[in-house]
């Protein structure tokens, strides 16, 4: 992977064609035959009417107050405002590490870092109501941008190796939950119960947590499914197919409500954690199938070669098969992350305050908002669309960068 991989080959497409070429292009692409001309006219007509209706609604009819009044609710939910710096610190950590990853690995991480910097800069610049409108919040978002570049500079230094950055990420995933929730019984940091967490924060925690926790589980299940021990194999098949055979909402319902019915009273699992368990179990079954695909793609010759040099079964799997298989499934895992990210909305069914549920609560917070459902849902749809689109954009880059399917 070289950093030249990220130059823009599509710039040629973006350049508008010069006038005579335009006519040729039009004739070739839009009016090359009778039916096509009709289709083109129909398409232009419908784009005009739909577009006009949408724009008129968005700029004149819609009442955006439920969105603009206090956007902070969409970001962090009920997280206590005097402790909000802890969410901020977590974001700074993530920004810094993204920057470092960019410096270390270049390529695709550059895209991620750019997207993050761009998004945060936009958040820092656009005017907003409520607590989001305060100067401190604007400044905070803007500070993230230089922090990303600071990370980049550090990450580009020779002495910073990949294992530093990986360690940094691992450290942050361990530290952020404690930072957000508080340490111990609140003596060092006041405890902020997860029932107060909400909005995009929870959506991200469920999606990122779900995918990270499900990964090792999924790999084990995939290996188990190929195991020569029938008991293990049957268990893994049962688990994978059982989970894949039922809707996510039923799994969330099980982990949140049914599971709790059976736990001893003194073992009270946090509700957010229970939802996370549900997401993880669900995601693990799909990860397992993805990894299995990757395992099947490893040529048999590799295994035989490993055996030939005297590696035992365990070593062969760990050192030869898995690294190749996992590399092949990275794009599939990213795709799965995107769909898991969308699926976090289903946590509404078990009353987790993720983005969509916060939206619903905001609709109920003021009698004047009760009927503004369209505005709130369209806003949430737009947030998801932008984030998912950027992620799938990045994942297409990743696919190219890894050269998947070129072998």
């Amino acid at each position: 992977m070289t950093d030249s991989g990220s130059t823009q080959p599509e710039s040629a497409n973006i350049r508008p064609p010069s006038p005579p070429k335009l006519l040729v292009w039009l004739r070739r692409n839009l009016f090359n035959s009778w039916p096509n001309s009709v289709l083109t006219l129909l398409a232009v007509g419908s784009i005009y009417f739909v577009g006009r209706a949408v724009l008129e609604w968005a700029f004149f009819t819609a009442d955006w107050r439920p969105v603009t009044n206090n956007p902070m609710l969409y970001l962090v939910g009920q997280y206590p405002r005097d402790q909000i710096w802890r969410v901020g610190a977590s974001l700074l950590l993530v920004s810094f590490l993204t920057g470092m990853s960019w410096g270390e690995w270049r390529g695709i991480m550059r895209t991620f870092a750019m997207l993050l910097a761009g998004g945060l800069a936009v958040l820092g610049i656009i005017p907003a109501g409520g607590q989001m409108g305060s100067l401190a919040v604007h400044v905070f978002f803007l500070i993230n941008v230089p922090v990303i570049f600071l990370g980049f500079l550090l990450g580009s230094r020779k002495f910073v190796t990949g294992s530093w950055v990986l360690g940094g990420w691992l450290f942050s995933f361990l530290v952020i939950p404690f930072l957000l929730r508080g340490i111990g019984d609140g003596t060092v940091l006041p405890t902020v119960e997860t029932s107060l967490w909400g909005g995009l924060l929870v959506t991200l925690i469920l999606a990122v947590g779900g995918i990270l926790l499900s990964f090792p589980l999924g790999v084990l299940l995939a290996l188990g499914r190929r195991s020569s021990l029938p008991v293990i194999k049957i268990f893994c098949v049962m688990f994978i197919e059982g989970i894949r055979g039922v809707p996510l909402v039923t799994i969330l319902f099980m982990s949140s409500i049914i599971l709790a019915l059976f736990l001893p009273p003194d073992l009270r699992i946090d509700r957010l954690v229970r939802a996370l368990i549900g997401m993880t179990i669900f995601s693990a079954a799909y990860t397992a199938e993805n990894v299995r695909g990757g395992l099947q793609a490893v040529p048999a010759g590799q295994i035989e070669a490993a055996k030939a040099v005297g590696l035992n079964n365990f070593q062969t799997t760990l050192l030869v098969v898995l690294p190749q298989a996992l590399r092949a499934v990275i794009p599939a895992i990213v795709g799965q992350f995107i769909s898991l990210f969308k699926d976090t909305t289903l946590a509404i069914i078990v009353a987790i305050n993720e983005l969509l549920n916060i939206g619903k609560s905001i609709l109920q917070s003021d009698v004047e908002f009760l009927q503004l459902q369209l505005e709130v849902y369209v806003f949430i749809a737009a947030v998801f669309w932008v984030l998912c689109y950027l992620m799938s954009f990045a994942s297409r880059r990743l696919e190219t960068a890894l050269g998947i399917g070129e072998r």
């Binding site: 008991v231 293990i232 059976f262 369209l374 949430i380």
Partner: protein, 401 residues
């Protein structure tokens, strides 16, 4: 694996291997140990669950099934009101899920294919619109889309008195979509039976004569024969039913709502439209991928042997594309079926929705939840079985052809 094992064994002196290093013995031991651990864990979990349930006073029995449910359900395929049993209520939910899944799968396949082909259109604008459609749906959670469809679109349709209408045929308002619908008269069932028999005979004739043609190479007019059989059964049926097999049930505005005709409730329609549009975006990508996977040389070869464009598509491209398309298509169908569980959010009485109400009204979380899970598993199982059989058939016939 086995080849490498035997290979390895031949290299070592078998007699000298102590038991704890003999791979076969180790494997056998691992089998037994894993079995014991696994079964032990199962028993341990089971016993604990039962113990906890007993201590909590959780009822695990199914004796409530025959108690009156006491709650209304908005729409049902079979007769139901609140005096029916919990068992019937569950069945109503199940049938509603099946109804929307089957209709949804058919429509999503049609729409998905159209969008997928549009994506490949040589018309730049059409292809871009298809792309916009796909990107719009793939990047927004289905639940959010359903909220928008139901609350922002179907609920904003005009009230009953101001329905959008094609008089005598179609009425659309916020209470649903009402269609004039043909229904069987008293003698109509004879017509239906006759038509059914005719159809079956026609299909048998079609298959048999087509095989005959393949074997003998002679033309057997299989299409003509089949159509003739169907036409005859229609005439016979009409005669049997005294030339009045059907009557048209037209919706009439009465009191609060329209009565008569075929009614699709807004909840059903919104869920159907949402699911179909969402799934179609994924199916479109599957179809596009399948068609693009067919080598361009195939098209050229087909042209070279003189096939027309439609023939090329129908005889060369589609059969080959199907092999690539079917497996991911199956998983999309399963996704659609599972996604019907989001009906909860917009008030359609599907299996999960009714199940949850039952949990609340009967107070038996565990057994009802077990019923829901098992039912979904069985539905998934049957769907994937049917489609796997179909898939296997298509793959084999493809290879043999």
């Amino acid at each position: 694996m086995s080849s490498s094992n035997s290979h390895r064994k031949s290299l070592t002196r078998e007699s000298a291997i102590p038991l704890w290093r003999d791979e076969r013995a180790l494997t056998a031991a691992a089998q037994v140990i894993s079995a014991i651990i696994f079964i032990g864990a199962l028993i341990w979990v089971g016993v604990n669950l039962l113990e906890a349930a007993k201590q909590r006073g959780l009822s695990l029995g199914f004796d409530f099934i025959n108690d009156p449910a006491g709650f209304p359900i908005s729409e049902a395929v079979i007769p139901y009101d609140d005096s029916y049993t919990f068992g019937t209520a569950f069945l109503v939910g199940l049938l509603n899920t099946l109804k929307i899944s089957i209709i949804g799968i058919v429509l999503a396949t049609v729409l998905g294919t159209i969008v997928g082909l549009a994506r490949l259109s040589t018309n730049w604008l059409v292809s871009r619109i298809a792309l916009a459609y796909i990107e719009l749906h793939r990047n927004i959670p289905l639940l959010v889309l359903l909220f928008i469809w139901y609350f922002a679109i179907f609920n904003k349709l005009p009230p009953t008195q101001e329905s959008l209408e094609v008089p005598g045929l179609l009425y659309i308002n916020q209470r649903g979509l009402y269609l004039s619908w043909p229904r069987l008269t008293e003698t109509g069932s004879l017509f239906a039976v006759s038509l059914l028999v005719g159809l079956i005979l026609a299909i048998i004739a079609w298959i048999y004569l087509r095989r005959l043609r393949k074997r003998s190479g002679h033309s057997t007019y299989y299409a003509g024969v089949s159509i003739a059989i169907i036409l005859m059964s229609v005439v016979l049926g009409l005669a049997l039913s005294e030339w009045q097999p059907l009557w048209i049930d037209t919706p009439v505005f009465e009191g609060f709502n329209f009565t008569g005709g075929l009614r699709l409730t807004p909840e059903f329609t919104a869920l159907l439209v949402g699911l179909v549009m969402y799934t179609a975006a994924f199916i479109a990508e599957v179809v596009r991928g399948g068609i693009q996977a067919v080598d361009l040389g195939q098209t050229e070869a087909a042209k070279a042997v003189g096939l027309k464009q439609m023939q090329t598509l129908g005889l060369v491209i589609i059969p080959q594309a199907m092999r690539v398309i079917i497996p991911p298509l199956i998983s999309q169908f399963l996704n659609l079926t599972k996604n019907t569980s989001l009906a909860l959010a917009i008030g359609y009485a599907d299996l999960f929705n009714v199940g949850r109400i039952m949990i609340n009204q009967a107070g038996r979380a565990v057994p009802i939840f077990g019923m829901i899970m098992v039912t979904y598993l069985i539905i998934s199982l049957i769907t994937s079985l049917i489609l796997n059989i179909y898939n296997r058939k298509i793959q084999i016939s493809e290879k043999s052809a």
